[in-house]
Each structure stands twice: as structure tokens, then as C-alpha cells.
């Protein structure tokens, strides 16, 4: 009876143990994964390794240069070796994680007959006109003509010439090392026309560590798909001045040709407005010596803010806005001059603000007040105004003065005010900037996802990320093979996709769900369920240990 009872009890104990273990097993095997799965934030898979790889991307910018030798440019035996190709590669030293290498691929060949004929003319401009006709050159490529040492095509003291399109002329030399010497000259000219360290440093200004000259480098607008240009005439005193400006004509004649030339770099829209009673934020000082008013340089930053609120910019588009303000000072503060940091009036009476636009002060001729009653009718001289605004526009787009090699002749500007190779330069810079921006955006997104576990990644966001990564890689390849136009398009695509992914509102959906509230909800359920399981597990563990120790005692 007792034995049977003990056996039954043992059976019961074993069953209880098993039940407890089973509970624990179900909780761990089924419960925990179920809880994990149901409360997990959805994250589509992302190409983390490829994004990480973008940081170590090597950008190789290839500039295809065609070098054309005329008959008497190099010694005869050297001419025998043509055609052949020389590659000149060098690294651009920038404190940036991406390695940027610049590669000039020079294809040497002999001049064709019509080229010989053109280059034997007496005038560079005529020669150029004749050479330009047959074929259009691809974006980013250059053609350099090597002429004989004593050719009269260039003035005698000039060694080289840079044309308005994608051509340049270099004097040859009769020397044993002719190719080497000419090659160096060609690289100098080609650098001035395409990629220089300064251009790239300006393009990457936002991504480079701060240093002393970087504020100047941050002048150009950031790269964007399009730009809005607004010309505003500020008339703070309509009771005294009835100002008229022929902005339609000025835009048609001066601005539109320039923007047409730039149209590869983005979409442009131009509009203008007149704002009355729009004051500057600073009271000008009176200068008794010249009985005029002046704004000194340190007060200029305060000028813009009060005006800005009335400009009404970017209402209907997401593109950055460039503002050009023409300020006609009120009668009480006329004439008004802008002084530079040495206290000297600025010749143009204008200043610009990086990435924002420019302001020009237009003083009314004091003779106009004589004899006529107020308001005085003022006709604005648009040529004077547009000269300043177009120069500012060039600066704001980052088209700087080229660094010419010594003894180099620069051709006169084209009627649009922009040379074709300057446009190429802009495209190089913008492509590199776009790539850097896209890479930074993707890397920060990846970092952010690693840091904050509550961010949801939907499938469409993930597909944008994939698109951006592919576009970055494509742009890098196109740059390396010298196709500037398609590289620029791909880099724009990369920026657009990466920003769309980064700023997608669905990323923020679960972000504000604090941990303490989670625990407040979990504890009433988890604590009563976990405690019995844990207690019985501890009990089972203790009992098993005891039963292991017992046999040892018997020994």
C-alpha cells in the first residue's frame, strides 16, 4: 500500500515537473518569438554593405582630350609616332573620405586637311569659326590644337589660347623632348578648362572640414534640380519716387540667354516683382563730408531679414530661390552708398549674400528733384543693373575666374556671358557634389537605422535606397569613362532618390513610443506569468542538483 502510494506520488511529481518544463518550453519556444514578431518594427532589407562601400568609393574623373598636331608643330620623326594615347593621372588632395583622381586621357593625332587649313589662317577667331562647324563635341571633352612654334595665329608673346567653346590652341616646339614639353603645357591648359582643385573644393565645401577659406568656398548655391530667380524692385518711398523698370526687356535680353546656356544644369524660372514700403533693416549713417548716407560692411548682414519676410518666395515650388533686389533708397536717405571694410564706397554699390542672392542700391540722380514736384518719375538704367546682377549670378552659381597658366590668352566672352567649358566645369563640380550629397544622405540613413530601432522602413523607401545606390554607382562609372552628361543625370537621380528615402514621412511613424510606457503595459501581463515559471524552474534545478549529489554520498 505504502509502496504503491510512494510510486503514485513519484509519478505525480514527475508529471508535475514535466508540465512545468513544458510550460517553460512553450513560453520560450512559442511565446517569445510570437511576442517578438508581433511587436517588431517592419524593416525592408537594405543594401547596408553597398552603402558602407560608397564611403570608400574612388572617383575617377576622366577628361578626354583630343590633341591635334599640325605639320610643323613637332619634329618630323616625332610625327611618325602618331597617333597614340597618353594618360596623365593625378590625385586631387582634399581632406575628404572619397578619393578623387583626375585623369586626362590625351589622344594624339595628326591634323586633318581642313584643320590644317583653318589653323593656317591669320586670326584665331576665324580659325575657330571654321573649326567649329563640322562636329559638335561631347560634354566634358576638350580639343587642343598644337600649332607651329612660329605661327602667327597667336600674338608672338602668347604661348597658348583658350577659346570660348571646348577648344584650345598651344604652341608646339622643335625639340627632342617635344612630346613631354607639349604634354605638360596641354595638361596646364586642360586643367584650367576643366577640373581644378579649387572647383572641386568649392563643390565639396559642405562636406569638407571647416578651415579658414571655406566660408568663401560656400558661396555657390547647392546643387538642385531647378532654381528660381526673382528680381525685386524695392521702393520704400512711393510718395517721392515713382520708379519704373523695364524688367521684361532686361530679362529677355540679358538673363534669358545666360540661363539658356545654363539649362543643362537645371530648370530655371524667372519672375520679378515690385515691393512698396519695403525697408532695409538698418538705418544708414550720415557722412557729413560728402553729405551722403552709407551702410558699412558689418551692418550689411542685418539688411536682409526684414525684407525677406515680404519677398514671398518659394510659395509654389521646392526649388531654391535666388533673390536679386534693386533698392531705391527713400528720399530722406539719398544718396546711399555701400562701404567696404576699409570705408571706401564700393564701385558697383552692390553686395551679395552667399546662397541667397544680391542687393544693389540704385540712387536717384539728384538733378531729378530740381523743379519737379513729388513723386519724381525714375527710369531705371537696366544695363547698369543687369551687369551687376549677372556678375552676381555667375558667382552664386560658382563660375569663378579661371586660373590661367602663364602667357595664356583668354578669348572674349560669348554673347550669353558663359563659355562652354565653364559650363562643363560647372557640370563636373555639380556631379561630384551630387555624389557626395547622395553618399552622405545614404550613410546617415544607414547610421540612423542602426542607432534608432523604432524606425520603420517600408518597401517603397527601400526601393528608393536601392535606386539611389545604383545611380551613385552608375554616375561614378560614367565619370570614369568620361561621359559627363549622363554622369550628371545619374548623379541628380541619386540625390533625388536618396533624399526622398531619407525624408519619407513613414520613417517617423513609430519614433515617439517611449520605453517606460512599453514596460507599463507589459508588466501586468508578463510578471504574473513569468514568476511561477521561473520559480518552478528554480525548484526543478535545485532538486536535480540534490539528486546528483546523493549518489556521491553513498560512495
Amino acid at each position: 500500500m505504502a509502496a504503491a502510494g510512494a510510486a503514485a506520488t513519484d509519478l505525480e511529481v514527475v508529471r508535475g515537473k514535466r508540465a512545468a518544463l513544458f510550460f517553460a518550453a512553450v513560453a520560450i519556444v512559442l511565446g517569445l518569438p510570437l511576442w517578438w514578431k508581433t511587436t517588431e518594427t517592419y524593416r525592408a532589407p537594405l543594401p547596408y554593405s553597398q552603402i558602407g562601400g560608397l564611403n570608400a568609393l574612388q572617383l575617377r574623373l576622366m577628361v578626354p582630350v583630343t590633341v591635334v598636331f599640325t605639320r610643323e608643330s613637332v619634329p618630323l620623326d616625332d610625327q611618325e609616332k602618331l597617333p597614340f594615347t597618353v594618360v596623365h593621372e593625378r590625385e586631387i588632395p582634399l581632406k575628404y573620405k572619397m578619393k578623387i583622381k583626375c585623369r586626362f586621357q590625351k589622344a594624339y593625332r595628326r591634323a586633318l586637311d581642313h584643320e590644317e587649313e583653318a589653323l593656317s589662317l591669320g586670326n584665331v577667331q576665324e580659325a575657330e569659326a571654321m573649326l567649329a562647324e563640322p562636329q559638335e563635341q561631347a560634354e566634358g571633352s576638350l580639343t587642343v590644337y598644337v600649332i607651329s612654334e612660329h605661327s602667327s595665329l597667336l600674338p608672338q608673346d602668347m604661348m597658348s589660347y583658350i577659346g570660348p567653346k571646348r577648344t584650345a590652341v598651344v604652341r608646339g616646339i622643335m625639340h627632342r623632348e617635344a612630346f613631354n614639353i607639349i604634354g605638360r603645357r596641354i595638361v596646364q591648359v586642360a586643367q584650367a578648362m576643366s577640373l581644378t582643385e579649387d572647383v572641386l573644393a568649392a563643390a565639396l565645401a559642405d562636406h569638407l572640414p571647416e578651415d579658414k577659406w571655406s566660408s568663401d568656398k560656400r558661396r555657390p548655391l547647392k546643387s538642385s534640380l531647378g532654381y528660381e530667380i526673382t528680381f525685386s524692385l524695392l521702393n520704400p518711398d512711393p510718395r517721392s519716387h515713382d520708379v519704373h523698370w523695364d524688367i521684361e526687356g532686361a530679362v529677355r535680353h540679358y538673363v534669358q540667354p545666360f540661363l539658356n546656356a545654363l539649362s543643362v544644369a537645371g530648370n530655371f524660372s524667372v519672375d520679378s516683382q515690385i515691393l512698396y514700403y519695403a525697408m532695409l533693416g538698418v538705418n544708414p549713417r550720415f557722412d557729413p563730408a560728402s553729405s551722403s548716407y552709407y551702410l558699412d560692411m558689418h551692418s550689411l548682414p542685418h539688411v536682409i531679414n526684414p525684407v525677406e519676410s515680404r519677398l514671398g518666395s518659394s510659395a509654389a515650388s521646392l526649388y531654391p530661390v535666388l533673390n536679386f533686389l534693386l533698392y531705391v533708397p527713400e528720399l530722406a536717405h539719398s544718396p546711399l552708398y555701400i562701404q567696404d571694410k576699409d570705408g571706401v564706397p564700393v564701385a558697383t554699390n552692390a553686395f551679395h549674400s552667399p546662397r541667397w542672392g544680391g542687393i544693389m542700391v540704385y540712387n536717384v540722380d539728384s538733378k531729378a528733384y530740381n523743379g519737379s514736384e513729388l513723386p519724381v518719375r525714375v527710369e531705371v538704367d537696366m544695363v547698369r543693373v543687369m551687369e551687376v546682377f549677372l556678375a552676381q549670378l555667375r558667382l552664386l552659381f560658382g563660375i569663378a575666374q579661371p586660373h590661367l597658366p602663364p602667357k595664356c590668352l583668354l578669348s572674349g566672352p560669348k554673347s550669353e556671358g558663359l563659355m562652354t567649358w565653364e559650363l562643363d566645369q560647372l557640370l563636373w563640380a555639380r556631379s561630384v557634389e551630387n555624389l557626395a550629397t547622395a553618399t552622405t544622405t545614404l550613410t546617415s540613413l544607414a547610421q540612423l537605422l542602426g542607432k534608432i530601432s523604432n524606425i520603420v522602413i517600408k518597401d517603397d523607401v527601400a526601393s528608393e535606397v536601392y535606386k539611389a545606390v545604383a545611380a551613385v554607382q552608375k554616375a561614378a562609372e560614367e565619370l570614369a569613362s568620361g561621359h559627363l552628361a549622363s554622369a550628371f543625370v545619374a548623379s541628380q537621380e541619386a540625390v533625388t532618390s536618396s533624399e526622398r528615402a531619407f525624408f519619407d514621412p513613414s520613417l517617423l511613424h513609430l519614433l515617439y513610443f517611449p520605453d517606460d510606457q512599453k514596460f507599463a503595459i507589459y508588466i501586468p501581463l508578463f510578471l504574473p506569468m513569468a514568476v511561477p515559471i521561473l520559480l518552478s524552474l528554480v525548484k526543478i534545478f535545485l532538486e536535480t542538483r540534490k539528486s546528483w549529489k546523493k549518489p556521491e554520498k553513498i560512495d
Binding site: 502510494g5 503514485a8 506520488t9 511529481v13 508535475g16 508540465a19 512545468a20 510550460f23 512711393p238 510718395r239 523695364d246 524688367i247 521684361e248 526687356g249 532686361a250 529677355r252 535680353h253 540679358y254 524667372v270 519672375d271 520679378s272 516683382q273 515690385i274 512698396y276 514700403y277 560692411m297 550689411l300 548682414p301 539688411v303 515680404r310 514671398g312 510659395a315 509654389a316 515650388s317 567696404d340 571694410k341 564701385a347 558697383t348 553686395f351 551679395h352 549674400s353 552667399p354 513723386p375 527710369e379 537696366m382 544695363v383 551687369e387 556678375a391 555667375r394 558667382l395 575666374q401 572674349g412 566672352p413 554673347s415 556671358g417 501586468p524 501581463l525 504574473p528 506569468m529 511561477p532
Partner: protein, 511 residues
Amino acid sequence: MAAALPLALVVLLLLGPGGPALAEPPRDSLREELVITPLPSGDVAATFQFRTRWDSELQREGVSHYRLFPKALGQLISKYSLRELHLSFTQGFWRTRYWGPPFLQAPSGAELWVWFQDTVTDVDKSWKELSNVLSGIFCASLNFIDSTNTVTPTASFKPLGVANDTDHYFLRYAVLPREVVCTENLTPWKKLLPCSSKAGLSVLLKADRLFHTSYHSQAVHIRPVCRNARCTSISWELRQTLSVVFDAFVTGQGKKDWSLFRMFSRTLTEPCPLASESRVYVDITNYSQDNETLEVNPPPTTTYQDVILGTRRTYAVYDLLDTALINNSRNLNLQLKWKKPPENGYIHYQPAQDRLQPHLLEMLIQLPANSVTKVSIQFERALLKWTEYTPDPNHGFYVSPSVLSALVPSLVAAKPVDWEGSPLFNTLFPVSDGSSYFVRLYTEPLLVNLPTPDFSMPYNVICLTCTVVAVCYGSFYNLLTRTFHIEEPSKGGLAKRLANLIRRARGVPPL
């Protein structure tokens, strides 16, 4: 970040300047107008209208040059191919019963209705984008307009301007009744005016006065209008209207007098030099029948009579462009005075301030005999901050009783009382003569049931559910894991041992 820059002018402008177009008539014009209407209830309504007309085909031209027309709205018209846009922000409700018919009423909150051009392919997308942009321009929550509150009326809301066809597919209408109108909506609205708020009638638009009113409605209406009588081409018209109703009666301690300075705390000093017409109209109709009970100062030079909203009205007209009007006194402060004060009576109202002071309404009224007078006050229930609820908030909140103090004529003439000699109960209130006696009555306190939130409902539900689950689970778990075995008789507890000790001492065999 600005830098003075000695600009190197590298750009040579090779093309000659296009000859400046001289003697061209202005292609845009501005008219401004203020109508002041004393309302039957004693309040004063002021309606501003600013009309900018622009002779331009906004949609056709690639480059747009703006002068008086605001650029922000012009860009909207061309970008979203708008034909008409009507947007209004209103705080309060126009009480037609007391104030008479309005010139232009608008619903409380924000109202937006738009006719698109028939070239628009995806109207809903344009509508969505447009409402988002407008919400940015006017700092309002118009971005909450979506398909759930947008309708396409088919019979009402015909275009107000020139229209060839009216296919209702291109109309969208939405109202956001809970939109609160405030200074941040007025500021961008003022910025659209050519003279901003620096000159002309817009000087009077001072936010802290305009929002201290019983009714405030500001609107923007854009529509195409005929450029000439034969309507061969169209112009764009932008009307910015703002109507406010000042509670002149209450704030003026019962007097109906008003002046520009008292209403707007500003006076008119100069006309807007850009306006081709700038006028103030004062409605003097109601009073001229009543034989010179009021006077307007300065006296008007001209008057204007017409049938407006079904009644014949007379307006005093002040033209700001008339230099004599302002130059005489440096500024224009229109005043209206009643020669004979209205019926005696006294109303004092001190509005409440949230969490600082309660409302106080005092009225001195003479009641006719055998009449019922009812004083009712409307209030709205609001949610308090959650810390401000009293314990047991479902009980309600008390509103203190109202007090009625009256001198009631006595039925029987009493003889003058001797103050010291008469019983105490008769001398509490001093009475001047025996013909009336003084009574002060109190009404019941009012118990108002405020909406009370359930403060802890979500957490209670979670805790309750979890407890039920935990209890079920616990007993189930116990049942399954407990070991049941038969209790063997033990050697006994403490009581048994004690009993055995005593038995042993007594020499009796233990249990």
C-alpha cells in the same frame, strides 16, 4: 554672411537695351475702400475691401512680372491653372437677426472653394497641392483638407467671374469649421497688400484691435473679369476683404458713440500713393429719419445714395485722395456722436479671463409691470486641463447664483421708521422713503456638468485584461504542475508534543 564685393564685371553686355516702354498706361490698378455701418444692435461693422486688378494673361506668359499683384498668389494661379479662388477665414458668426444682412458672409472657420481651368487633368491632385501651399502662405491648417471634407457642389457655387462653361468637375469646395483665426493669419494677408500696412486704409489693420471683436472675417477672392465693356480679353481681379464687428455698445459703457481711433487705436494719416481710389463710406441712413440725432465729424463733403441689400441707404463719403481732407488736420479721425443719448439703462460687462477672473454682468433695467423678463446667457462647455478637475469631477461644477437687487414699490405707504427704535429685522437695509422697500434675491446656484474625460481608461483596460489573463493562467498552471500526494500521519504538531509532555509528567501513556 554678406560681403561687400568689388565686382569684376566680366560680363559684357553686347546687346543694346530694349527701349524703355514709355507712356504706357499702368497695367494694374488698386482701389481701396472702408465701409463703416452702425448696426441696429448698437455694434459697429467695418468692412475693408482692397481690389487689385491686373490686365494680364497669367497662364500664358512664361515669365511673370508683378507690380501690385502679389507674386505669391500670381504664381499659384499659373502653376495650378486656377480660374477662381475664394478663401475666407472667419472667427465668430454674423448674427443677421441683430445686425441685418451682411455684404459678404462667410462660415466660421476656414472656407476654400476653387474653380480650376478645364486644362487640369488631375483636379484632386492639384486641389490637394493647392491647399497645402495656401496653408503655407496663410499659416493656416488648410493642409487638413482632404477627400473626407471636400465636396463638388453641382448647383451652388457658380463662378463669380467670367466663365464660358461651368463643368462642375473642376470645382472643389471645403470648409474647416474648427480653424481658429488669429494674428498669424492676418499678417500674411496684410503682406499681400501693395501698401503693406504702412499707408492708406491698411494702417488701421492692427491685429490686437481686430481680434478684440465679435466677428472677424478676412477673405481673398481671385477671379477673372472683363477688361473692357465688350469683354474681348480678361483681367485678373484680386479682392481682399476684411469685415469686423466691434462691440461698441458694451466696451463703450452703454454709449453708441464711436471714432476711428477708439475702434482701431489708429487714425488715417496719408492715402496709399499706389491706389487710384481710396474712400471711406459711413452709413448714415438709419439716423437721418430720426431727425438729427447724430453728427459725423468732420462733416462729409459728398454723400452717396443707393439701394443696397434691398433698402435705400445713404452714405457719407470721404475721399482720402482729396488732399484737403487730410492736410487740414494732419490726420483723419472720423467720429460719430449721438446728440441725444439713447434710453437710460446701464450695462456693465467685464469678460472673464481664463484662470484669472470670472465674468461679471450687471444690468440696470426698469421692468414694466406684470411682465416676464428673461435674461439668458449662453455658454459653451470646455475641457479643463486634466490637473484642474476637482476630485469627483462627475459631480459637476458650480456657477455662483445671480443676484437681483430691487426697489419694490410698497402697497401701503409706510410711515418713516425710527432707525433706532424699530425692531432689528426691519432696519437691515436703509430705505430712503416709505413708498418702496428694498429686496435682494438670489437664484439657485447652477450645477454645470462639464465633459469629463476618463482619465485612466486605457491603462485600466490593459491592467484588468492582464489581471484576468494572469489569474486564469496562474490557477491553470498550479493545477498542472502541483504534485498531489496522500498526507501520511505525521508525528504530531506542537500541541501534541505539549500534551505528551504533560501526560508523561502525570505518568499517563502518551498519545
